[in-house]
C-alpha cells in the first residue's frame, strides 16, 4: 500500500487529535470533554456539511450521474444489512445479528467528514451531492434490521405485547432521527439560500470547520478507547467481523462506483459510507425496537473497532484500492 497515502492521512490534524484522544484514555489522563459539549460539535458538523452540500448541489444542479449515485447509495444501505445478518446468524441469535447488521448497514457521518478532509489534503475533488448519499444511507438499515427481527426472531413476547409494536414509531425513528433530520434540513436550506446564504454563513460553516472536527475527533478518540475493554466480552468472531466486513463493504462499494463511473473523490466517500458503521442513530433505534439485543455488543464493535480502523487505516486503504482499480 502506498505509504504516502497513509502519511497524508495520519499527518492530518483531525486524525492526530483522534490519536491523542485514544492516548488520553490509554495513559489514564483525566482529560475530559464533558457532555453535552461533544453534542455541540456533532450538531455543528452535520449542519455545516449539510449546508455546504446543499449549496454545492444548488450550484451544480441535478444530473443522471447524481441520481444513479444516490440509487446506488440506497441499494448498498439496504443490501449490506441483509448479507451481514446471515453472516452474523452463524454465531449469534436473530436479535443481536439484526442489530449488528443494521449498525453496519448504516453510516458514520464523522468518518465521512474525515474522508472529505483527507481528500482535501490530497487535493482531490468530491461533490456536494455525496452529502445527500450520506443522508440517504443512514436510515434504510434500521428498517431492514427490524424487518429481519420480525421474520427471524422467535418472539418471546406474548401476542398481546407484540401488538404494541408500532411501525409508525419505527419509521419515525429511522427517517426522522436527529442526525438525518438536521443533515437533510441543512442540505435543503443550503439549496434554498444558494450563493447568498453561503457567503453569509461561510466563516462559520467553513472557517472553523477543521478546528471543530479536530476537537470532535479528540473526543471520539476518548469515546472509542473507553469501549475497548468491552471488546474482551465480544469474542474473536465479532472482532474479525468489525474489521473485515468494512473492508469487504468498501470493496463492494468501489466496484459499484466503478460500474456507475463516478470520480475518484466521490468513490472514496462512497466506499467509506459502505464501510462505516453507525454508533448513534442505529443504537438508539435498536435499543428501543430490539431491546433483546445487547447494546454493548453493537456499540463497542462500531465504536471501538470499526470507527478507529476506518479513520486510521481504512480511508487510505480504500483510496489505494481505488487507485489500483483505476478509477
Amino acid at each position: 500500500m502506498n505509504s504516502s497515502l497513509i502519511l497524508s492521512n495520519i499527518l492530518n490534524p483531525p486524525v492526530l487529535f483522534f490519536f491523542l484522544g485514544m492516548l488520553a484514555i490509554f495513559v489514564k489522563s483525566d482529560l475530559e470533554i464533558p457532555a453535552p459539549l461533544p453534542k455541540l460539535f456533532s450538531l455543528y458538523l452535520l449542519l455545516a456539511i449539510g449546508f455546504k452540500g446543499g449549496y454545492e448541489l444548488e450550484e451544480s444542479g441535478i444530473n443522471p450521474q447524481i441520481v444513479l449515485t444516490l440509487l446506488a447509495a440506497v441499494f448498498m444501505a439496504s443490501l449490506v444489512p441483509v448479507y451481514s445478518f446471515f453472516i452474523l446468524k452463524i454465531k449469534l441469535d436473530a436479535y443481536n445479528a439484526a442489530a449488528i447488521a443494521a449498525t453496519y448497514g448504516s453510516i458514520s457521518a464523522v468518518t465521512f467528514i474525515t474522508a472529505q478532509s483527507f481528500l482535501k489534503v490530497l487535493n482531490i475533488n468530491s461533490d456536494g451531492y455525496m452529502v445527500a448519499a450520506l443522508a440517504l444511507m443512514e436510515s434504510p438499515a434500521i428498517v431492514v434490521g427490524i424487518v429481519l427481527v420480525r421474520i427471524f426472531g422467535k418472539s418471546k413476547e406474548k401476542e398481546s405485547e407484540k401488538s404494541e409494536f408500532s411501525w409508525s414509531e419505527v419509521l419515525r425513528e429511522a427517517f426522522l432521527n436527529g442526525s438525518v433530520f438536521l443533515l437533510v434540513g441543512s442540505v435543503l436550506i443550503g439549496i434554498l439560500t444558494g450563493a447568498k446564504g453561503w457567503e453569509k454563513l461561510q466563516p462559520f460553516t467553513q472557517g472553523i470547520f477543521y478546528g471543530t472536527l479536530s476537537f470532535f475527533l479528540l473526543d471520539m478518540g476518548m469515546v472509542a478507547a473507553r469501549r475497548i475493554k468491552d471488546l474482551s466480552k465480544t469474542g474473536s468472531f465479532l472482532i474479525a467481523f468489525s474489521i473485515f466486513m468494512p473492508v469487504a463493504n468498501a470493496i463492494f462499494g468501489i466496484i459499484i462506483a466503478k460500474i456507475i463511473g463516478i470520480s475518484q473523490g466521490n468513490a472514496l466517500l462512497f466506499a467509506v459510507l459502505c464501510a462505516s458503521a453507525s454508533y448513534i442513530a442505529v443504537p438508539a433505534a435498536m435499543r428501543m425496537t430490539v431491546p433483546e439485543a445487547n447494546p454493548s455488543l453493537y456499540v463497542s464493535m462500531a465504536l471501538a473497532l470499526t470507527f478507529p480502523f476506518n479513520i486510521i487505516v481504512g480511508i487510505p486503504l480504500y483510496m489505494n484500492i481505488i487507485k489500483i482499480m483505476g478509477l
Binding site: 456533532s42 469515546v223 468491552d230 454508533y279 448513534i280 442513530a281 435499543r287 447494546p295 454493548s296 456499540v299
Partner: protein, 97 residues
C-alpha cells in the same frame, strides 16, 4: 404532614416518555425528573459520552398514595422487564404547597 409513598424509577432515557405516561395514567399529582444519570446493572455500564440519550438513564421520582403506588408498580413492571431498570418504593411524609 401526610403519609405517602415515594416511588423512584430508573430506566433507559428512551423509555422515559412511556414511564411518564404510566404516572399520569395513575393520576399522581406530580413527579420530578433527573435526566442523564448513569449507572451499572444487568445490562452493563451506562456512560454518558455519546451525543445521544439512547444510552443514558433517566430518573423519575413521584410522591403518591398507596393506591396509586400499587397501580404504578403493576404498570411499570413490564416496561422494566423489557427495557431494564429498577423501581424503588419507600415510605415518607410530605407537605406540598
Amino acid at each position: 404532614m401526610e403519609l405517602v409513598k415515594k416511588v423512584e424509577i430508573i430506566t433507559n432515557s428512551l423509555e422515559l416518555p412511556q414511564v411518564l405516561k404510566i404516572l399520569e395514567k395513575a393520576g399522581v399529582s406530580g413527579y420530578t425528573i433527573i435526566e442523564n444519570v448513569t449507572g451499572t446493572g444487568d445490562r452493563g455500564r451506562v456512560i454518558n459520552d455519546l451525543g445521544t440519550q439512547a444510552l443514558t438513564n433517566g430518573y423519575v421520582m413521584s410522591i403518591c398514595t398507596e393506591k396509586q403506588e400499587h397501580q404504578l408498580v403493576a404498570a411499570i413492571e413490564p416496561v422494566l422487564k423489557k427495557f431494564g431498570g429498577v423501581c424503588i418504593v419507600s415510605d415518607a411524609q410530605w407537605i406540598a404547597h
